[in-house]
Amino acid sequence: MTEKQTTEKPIAEQDFSLNLDDLRPRHAEKRHLSDYFMPRRHSFIIFHPDRCTGCGACEMICSTRNVEIVAPASASVKVVRDEKQGKNFSILCQHCRKPLCLPACPTRAIEKGDDGIVRIDKLFCTQCGLCTMACPAAAPIKDPGSQEIHKCDLCEGDPLCVKHCPENALTFTRGKGFRWIKALRWTSQLISFLLLVMVFIGTFCYFKTGSVSFACPTGTLQNIASSGTVVLVSVSSALALLILTVLAGRLFCGWVCPFGFVLDLVDKITPRKIGWPSFLKSRMTKYGVLAGAVGGSYALGFQVFCVVCPIGTLCRSYGLQSFFKSAELAIVPALASLEIAQRRSWCRYFCPVGAVLGLTALLRLIKIVIGAKRCKKFSCIQCAEVCPVGIIDADKLREGLSPKIPMTECIMCMRCIDRCPYDAAKIRFRWQKAVPGEGRT
């Protein structure tokens, strides 16, 4: 016996017990390089309830894969029919992005693969049925005979039910391909940045009078408050921006604002957020900042906020000529660093330009709606995760209800519409009551 062994406990007293972490360790999700540029698009099956006639062909063909005979009760899909309302639904596993069955399985038999498919490993499944208990749709189905749990596995990428549905009520898709809205928006933001910051220096910000093409509404207000005069040209150009807001919401914030572009870039390189203390998280603060700016301008006789405005600083001081010339340059990095706390926290809580546009958005003509019937709710929630200003109520979506999206806060970046694989997030006119997925037979 060596020196090392004499200091260890005798074998009879050592603890050799194994637990699940030893037998079935959970692996952290692998991150690919492409995940930084675009989200993964997995395939999924969409069900169209308006087309379904309740014939049950999907159950028939699915059962031949599970038990090799036609036994609709042993399929991985269940057709639920409501005779009074005349509705049919094929319930099958949605391969949720954050599956609830996964943590509920006591033997860790359920895993979400790299291809996005949630699978039950029959080797470890004890058929306890807790996955069905945890699933909000009760999608795993217990075979009434053999007691096995049958759950959809997308037929490993070539689903049979999709091929056999006579009404094409089940479609297999990877969702949207090229994200047009994203491409347009980044292009728009880049061009606006180049024009407003590099080329037409000082144009946007009213502070530097002289070459006025577009005028910031907040600046206009402060100008009126501080100087007591109304310059018609600048008021009318500020009005142009306000009219745009009435037509299209706070489109400026999402697509044009150069500081917003800077914030989006900072956001890309700081994926981990540290969060705000909750007392700072009031959306009303920016209205307070606006009131302070206007009131201060009135009291002190010069445009108070414009001195420290990050948008103005960008537009005025970062041109190619005046690079690194003034102390104003520190304002933009300082305020951009707020991004580490929460995405677009400047826009959410502090920006008075956003405050003015938000007030104008009360008169908006359009709104963004998320149709709860078409939305896949708990299994997806990509819209709530991707929204930079965090105004989509994820908890409400999980309960199956359409959340009301406050258009005074929405910066119309349309990331939700872009991301939604089920076409449930759409733009509608304010007076339209019908949401996607409803309003038809």
Binding site: D50, T53, G54, C55, G56, A57, M60, I61, S63, T64, V67, E68, I69, V70, A71, P72, A73, S74, E83, K84, Q85, G86, K87, N88, P144, G145, K163, H164, P166, E167, T441
Partner: protein
């Protein structure tokens, strides 16, 4: 190898209600080879039992990937038409019966108290149904769901049957059926409230069937009749049917299909109406599944107003809408009609019927989409193979050979099957009188 082996459980259930006994025995292979199944096999089985027995039988293609393979055929001596009748029952009853382990079910004798059968896993249980007497059909089904062992479909009689009304019609779930031959009277005479089908087992069928089913669907999808689907398109073919559409005022329509049917001929409608018997209540919203084409056409001819509440009332009681239509006065108010229906249930007047001979053979409910000989041939084919007759009438391009190829594609099998099929169909139309 018996080509029928994967298509049948090869089991027949024999229920003796008088002795409260039920057993499941093997099916005679010879008979199956000779008669194939469905109505022809039912007739052969019935010969072994007394006149008042009734048999529910599936066809070989029931439950398979043949299009619209939803049929179970109830054969019995009809007290209304005074002859042997074969009534088709669709939706999902046929497959559910096969998937409950029996292919044929014979019911004889009379139960001492109201009973209901439950079939699953090849076992038949006779359960008491006293508490379901005089309950409207939807309520009875809810009650069954709560207290009985689970089931997928149910064939049930309504409160009208409990009173022995000749206008009564059997109901599949709460949706009515094509029974105009008095199946329900037979069941009521036996004190049989209904049959619950568990439907949780399965059958292997033929490996090529899914592929063959899709091929057939492709063939009919090019047919112009395929586009005209739903209840209303079939209704247009019937006498009085063109106008019937006017009186079926629905707010929401949704086409519904039976088991594995690619071309739905039923429509679920939602409508709102003001109940004249209850003036204080607001407009009530209701929904029902329209599947009885001849019944609706007959009602629409008589009742020149929204017939949906009347249909709903018929389904509620378990009445045959066509028979009710013959009793209703022409051009009355909604209140008068509803009262008339209540009166029919309470008074049980004598029932007249003017359905032609061949229609009587098949229960009088299958719509005359084709006429004469072709109608007979198609319906006969459907009733033997276990495929929906309405579907085969709408798509005559589906040939016998195409359907038989589901069972077997071998040349020698097909020849024998074709011959047996022809003789089976011929045997259906031989003269038969009620004993």
């Amino acid at each position: 190898m018996n080509p029928f082996q994967p298509f049948y459980n090869m089991k027949i259930g024999v229920v003796d209600l008088s002795a409260s006994k039920a057993e499941v025995i093997p099916l005679d292979q010879e008979q199956v080879s000779r008669y194939l199944g469905g109505a022809a096999m039912n007739s052969a089985i019935l010969e072994g039992y007394q006149g008042d027995a009734l048999v529910f039988g599936t066809g070989p293609l029931t439950g398979s990937f043949a299009p619209a393979s939803s049929l179970v055929i109830a054969s019995f001596a009809s007290p209304i038409f005074k002859r042997l009748c074969h009534v088709p029952l669709m939706l999902r009853t046929g497959p559910d019966m096969k998937f409950s382990g029996v292919d044929y079910l014979v019911v004889k004798g009379t139960a001492p108290e109201p009973s209901i059968l439950h079939v699953n896993h090849g076992k038949i249980r006779i359960l008491p149904a006293g508490n379901l007497q005089h309950m409207p059909v939807p309520k009875a089904i809810r009650q069954l769901k709560k207290t009985s062992p689970p089931f997928q479909s149910v064939i049930i009689t309504g409160p009208a049957a409990d009173r022995g009304i000749s206008f009564a019609s059997v109901s599949i779930g709460q949706n009515g059926s094509l029974d105009k031959a008095g199946l329900v009277s037979r069941m009521a005479a036996k004190n049989l409230k209904g049959i619950m089908l568990g439907g949780t087992d399965g059958l292997p069928f033929n490996r090529d069937n899914p592929h063959q089913g899709k091929e057939l669907e492709k063939i009919i999808s090019t047919d112009k009749n395929f586009k005209r689907r739903g209840f209303f398109s079939v209704l247009k073919n019937l006498e009085g049917g063109k106008d019937a559409g006017k009186f079926l005022k629905a707010e929401r329509k949704k086409d519904m299909a039976c088991y594995h049917c690619p071309s739905p001929c039923m429509t679920h409608v939602r409508y709102s109406w003001q109940d004249p018997r209850n003036k204080e209540m607001q407009n009530s919203e209701d929904g029902l599944l329209l599947l009885d084409h001849t019944g609706c056409a007959a009602l629409a001819k008589k009742v020149k107003k929204n017939i949906l509440p009347i249909l709903q009332s018929c389904l509620h009681y378990g009445l045959d809408p066509a028979a009710v239509a013959e009793r209703l006065p022409e051009g009355g108010t909604m209140l008068e009609y509803l009262n008339a229906i209540d009166k029919i249930v309470s008074d049980n007047p004598h029932r007249t019927t003017d359905v032609s001979e061949t229609y009587r053979l098949f229960g009088g409910g299958i719509p005359p989409i084709l006429t004469g000989d072709s109608w007979e041939k198609r319906v006969g084919l459907a009733m033997i193979l276990g495929v929906c007759p309405v579907f085969l009438l709408r798509f005559p391009q589906i040939t016998d050979a195409a359907l038989l190829s589901f069972i077997s594609t071998r040349e020698e099998d097909l020849k024998t099957l074709q011959d047996d099929l022809s003789s089976a169909i011929a045997s259906l139309f031989s003269p038969e009188t009620m004993s």
